[in-house]
Point group: C2
Chain length 233, copies 2
DNA sequence: CCAAAAGTGTTCGAATTACACCCATGA
DNA sequence: TCATGGGTGTAATTCGAACACTTTTGG
């Protein structure tokens, strides 16, 4: 027996806002798909799909991301749910947006990306279908706020990164210049980075030391009332 | 013709987390409903309902709130969407939680509250149905974060309030004592409060001046890069 | 040896904290 | 007149911002 009869049911979808940071071009990018079905076939769209019966919303987001990028265990977070009546002209669809963060070392080497998927620089995005531009704007503004107060920036960087690279990431997201000395002082004083013996030698002769994020240390500090804070000049 | 055939549809609901600040008892309260239908009839629940065909999610939240409290034009904000497979044993329901803030002057005078609705102190809530306790915890933690950085606290206070009352609100939400002089200095220095000539004379012989929030002034400041910040000792 | 990028400290002003007494008034 | 809650200032410290030179090394 089914309870709650007499209420209308709707299609429920998930749309993934996949941000990738390109450490080479020092640019934040967004994964877009050329839509392969009607309505709006051929237009740019976020990676989305409908929620299936045997999965939760979170599961659906993971599945769609895996299908599109081949990646698993990546940072994935619910953003916002869009439920305007006419948002999708094909049918009434309620869609929950998820935000994913990926470190792009070399875009062409990204595993198994669907050929209809393309990385586009955040600066100068094309028009997107439905309310997808809205979704992106909200997610980006949330990312800008979140990256100040939570260590999510590390999700956009490779395992090993230099302080220069980390600073470039913050500069790209905030769209402003950052003072090198103040930035280093601040991030190092938090005590959540581990300096490695290895140096990155591709961009300079002197070479820059690699660091990695010490997640265990961060979590221990957080429990003791420590707040990550990286509001920078 | 219907596009997107072959995908399962689901019930879509809205649950309202209605916080009310009781200026007399100096306590944050939550509006709970004794559920009147199966499953879980008789248990405590948030104010919820299903989304109807002619309304958006936001519209549904407003409608449910109006039906339950008789109030309109109150602060209402989407919180989070809950979509676990088995979250509602009656059927698969995807539910978007909304958070509302209300100033309670005198609970018994609140307009037209459904007789199955009750205000309960945040300290010592009963068990709630489904994942409603989760919803409340998340919304409360978001409120604690938000009230530091946005002037949402004023939604929990009456139009006219004293600085003592405002401080008591912050103390109730942060669950800690706040230094009177530092608090007053900080909030007054923002320049977004308007001092009235009138005094509140019920709680003291001397009387405390009423203030009100100057929203226009706040919005002008915000456009010029001003940030509301009320992290207090 | 030199160009190019990495790395490093100090000073100054602003903001935050801690803290204790006087004021006004109704009963 | 006195008990009650409202209202006020200052000193010490911490934090954030601005700022320029030295180091390393491959070519």
């Amino acid at each position: 027996m089914e309870l709650y009869s007499n209420y209308t049911q709707y299609l429920v979808a998930v749309d993934c806002i996949v941000f990738g940071y390109d450490i080479i071009e020092k640019e934040l990018k967004l994964l877009l798909i050329k839509r392969s079905f009607e309505p709006m076939k051929g237009s740019w769209s976020l990676a989305g799909g409908f929620v299936e019966e045997m999965e939760s919303l979170d599961d659906a987001a993971s599945r769609i991301l895996r299908t599109l990028t081949g990646l698993e265990r990546i940072y994935l977070k619910q953003s916002f749910t869009y439920g305007e009546k006419e948002r999708d002209p094909g049918a009434r669809v309620i869609s929950t947006a998820y935000c994913a963060l990926i470190a792009l070392r070399d875009i062409n080497k990204e595993p198994a990306v669907n050929s209809e998927a393309h990385w586009r620089s955040i600066a100068g995005l094309p028009d997107l279908i439905f309310d997808h531009s809205l979704m992106v704007n909200k997610a980006l503004s949330d990312l800008q706020n979140q990256i100040k107060a939570k260590p999510v920036g590390f999700e956009l960087l490779p395992e090993k990164f230099t302080l220069v690279q980390m600073q470039e990431l913050y500069a790209a997201i905030y769209q402003k210049q950052i003072d090198k000395r103040n930035f280093r002082k601040k991030i190092l004083s938090m005590g959540i980075l581990e300096k490695l013996d290895e140096k990155e030698r591709e961009t300079s002769k002197k070479g820059a030391y690699y660091y990695k994020f010490n997640k265990e240390r961060y979590e221990k500090l957080e429990q003791n009332g420590f707040y990550f804070n990286l509001d920078v000049s």
